[in-house]
Amino acid sequence: MQRLKLVLAGILFASSTTIAADDSNNFDVSGFARVVAGYLDESKASYEGYDDSLSLSEQSLLGVQAEYSFNEQLSVAAQLLAHSGDSRDSGVEWLYLRYEPSPNWRFKLGRLRTPIFQYSDILDVGFAYPWITPPQQIYSAYLFSNYEGATATYRQYYSGFNFDFEVFLGMFDETENYAGLIVPVKADPLAGFVFKSRHDAVQLHASYIRTNDFSTVVAEFDQFANILRSAGFQESADSLALKGRVEVMLGGLNYDSVDYFASTEWMRISSDVLLVPKTDSFYVTVGANLAPFQVHFTYASSSAEYDTIENEVPLGINPQLDALHFQYDTFIDNLPLDTLDSATVGVRYDLNSSVALKADVSWLDTKPDERGFFVINDASFDREAVLYQIAVEWVF
């Protein structure tokens, strides 16, 4: 894969150096930028990096896309991202070769963004969606943001209906932030499909992504599993395994008219990896177009749970086993859960065809003892907070 990246980068740079002599129509540079300011009215926790001091650095970014077309069928593209947030790496987001032998078929090869949610492949392009932060119950639980591999798309139009069917296959190998832990995550192979259909103002979207070989490494899990195993509790030790199957199913529906718009996405994550709990999430957005303004309201909810695992370690035999029994219970109980209900009201003002201003207010509410996407600094946090955000979105 490293070699593939180098080859693609080589092609891009070789082609960019020839543009001066070549037809400049074949080379296209465009970009997007956003400056987002946010404030959370809570001192005992932070949410998506926001706390009770005004911050401009959590989501502000600049992206540049360079594209070179060899001919009508073949092109190479790269997207470079400079991100100000701590949780995101700057660098090459996309780097791919695109081949379109006919209007019906499109193939891409390289480093790509996973397209399974409605906005997952343009999450950084805030100009493309109404909110400042897309509903985190879906978009933050986003397990595999990129992959290295190949994708094929077939497109067709039939009697008023537009169809898009995409299959992809690749691998994911990145450092991720799970449950507050920074861990290496690998999914190889990773495969999925996306189906989209549009009929006039309505668009339907269904997708599925699966890996049978998800793996991550968390030292604490391994150490505790080893203790359980050496004490003879194989099943309990196996319950802490960090390898296995992960699948994500998603359905979405959109309505877009001159006066109103509405969208909903529903997602289910299922897995046999302890670190990835069973999750059901959805959001519903309704909005009105009052050109050049848009006002919108979103309700989003997620619920997550771990498989109930029976504690194999018996009580009452000896104090060491009693301690191990309680240690296992505490370990499982302390696994964080991201159950969150939120309501967001927002307004967008399109200054012109490439700049938009936005303001959003989100009321966040999670269950006592659960994490709900917050980073909790003080256990007495009442699990309720309000996030205020304003943003400038720009495409060029």
């Binding site: 896309q65 392009v125 065809s353």
Partner: protein, 138 residues
């Protein structure tokens, strides 16, 4: 605040009045005389969908009255949603927006040279025999 709200309302009324009373025609080269497209087929073509006739859509620049009417009556979208849609298509490497023209004259000149191109313009403009109307809004 009240003045601001009044200004917004006035702008909204002006926009909708404009879009409601005026019409556009969708045209192509007379080489394609006889073809007729439904509103849905034109929407599909101008949103980058696959077209069986391999036609090339052409647009007017944002701000043109005919573009506003086209957005409202054919695409069923506001300019802001159109721009958002193309940002999504472009930065996900899926599609490019139609080529845009500053003036109707430039658009007609392009169609004259490229008979597979399809564009729109205000219904009241008189057309030479080089062009045919394939759809008219009402």
């Amino acid at each position: 605040m009240r003045i601001f709200a009044a200004l917004v309302m006035q702008a909204l009324l002006a926009v909708s009045a404009n879009a409601d009373t005026q019409n556009i025609v969708v045209i192509t080269h007379q080489k394609h005389a006889g073809i007729e497209l439904t509103r849905n087929e034109i929407k599909n073509l101008f949103m980058g969908g696959v077209s069986t006739q391999q036609l090339e859509p052409l647009a007017l620049k944002p701000g043109a009255d005919a573009r506003l009417i086209f957005n409202t009556k054919i695409l069923g979208l506001t300019e802001s949603r159109v721009q958002s849609y193309w940002a999504q298509m472009h930065f996900s490497g899926r599609n490019k927006p139609p080529q845009e023209f500053e003036t109707v004259e430039a658009l007609l000149a392009y169609i004259q040279k490229n008979p597979n191109a399809v564009g729109y313009l205000p219904a009241e403009i008189e057309l030479s025999d080089d062009f045919v109307v394939i759809y008219a809004t009402q």
